[in-house]
Symmetry: C3
């Protein structure tokens, strides 16, 4: 094992939890790449009036996914897409190839990165770290309209 947890969990809040909201966000992608939507999430959390709770983000696709990544240097996003291309190359042989050479790699990349995320909300703010941004990852070559569904619960 490498490192250790420091003692115990500090409780930040203990409150009632009586409210929730569901939302929907559409995004137009321009082919493979990452689309940030952190600001849209933060704005909706503020509009919901929920101060403390949990936000869940769900992507309704099998060839687009979600990730939380560094939002400072755009080169990071270039390298992330290149890494996914190495992990699920379009040049591999696939049984399922009727929908084009980018389709099956898109399914594999979606499986590796995932379609649901949960972020705590503390004092009306998403509890993201300094460098964390929330991204939809488009894995297909052509532009698509993508949809995420949001759920927030708390008080």
């Amino acid at each position: 094992m490498s490192g250790h947890a420091n003692g115990r969990v500090e409780t930040l809040r203990a409150t009632a939890a009586s409210r929730q909201a569901l939302g929907r966000l559409a995004m137009d992608t321009r082919g493979q790449g990452l689309v940030e939507f952190t600001a849209e999430l933060a704005r909706w959390v503020a509009e919901s009036g929920i101060q403390d709770g949990l936000l869940t983000v769900f992507c309704r696709h099998t060839s687009a996914s979600l990730t939380i990544q560094e939002n400072a240097d755009p080169d990071v996003r270039t390298d992330l897409m290149a890494a996914l291309d190495r992990l699920a190359p379009r040049t591999a042989l696939y049984v399922h190839d009727l929908e084009g050479p980018d389709d099956m790699p898109a399914h594999i990349r979606t499986m590796l990165t995932g379609v649901s995320l949960a972020i705590p909300v503390v004092g009306g703010q998403l509890a993201l770290g300094t460098w964390q941004g929330v991204y939809l990852v488009e894995h297909r070559d052509r532009p698509h309209r993508r949809e995420v569904v949001l759920h927030i619960i708390g008080e």
Copy 2:
């Protein structure tokens, strides 16, 4: 960046949230492969009587995991298993090899695909996209009995 979010989140519902349920589903696997259980989830959501909220699925194993994938063409599932075999090959050298050549690859594949998923519930329905199905992924060669625990909260 590739693409952009379209304006703002549309609120679908804002309601009370006062109820929850916990459930358990057992599955018998027949060796490596994907087992769909979307219908079982949908039925339990309906039985819970919760119209709006959040469903969480949790897999209680370190050599079986969860994924949401295309439920149309079975060839996709064949290619997904082949991709996991390339990413965590059983022919690699592992320190931990006492439980057989399929054991350590199973742990790695579980780490890459994950053991928890959250899906919003809107109007009594899982907010899955048209082609999305929920699957348990068995990573061991031999049949196993696997167990997932479910949580639903909302109103």
Copy 3:
């Protein structure tokens, strides 16, 4: 498809859900490796007094992540780190390389393993399987102070 779901979901509990808590845990890592914090989570769940509900764990970093893995044989953790090193090698060519050869691989490994996890709570206990432990994965070479934010909701 390989295997089948056995009939239907068994409901374990159906209760009110009126309370939540938010918490914070800091961890000092000693360079690349897995840091277990299952016991800290279990203790906080007990302190919260919530018997039935859902615990969410969120990691506030882009070069450290979360995984649920076997907590018995430490060799498993050695092999997991070696697998991540093969999947996102530090010897690959990256555009983003100003922060050292371990930085971009750390972002890729974080993307593949994820930063949020949800675990149901049943009868005051985390619904983990027998061999499951909860780990922070440090992907950088040097020691770091890492922070996870926790949310629990239920009754």
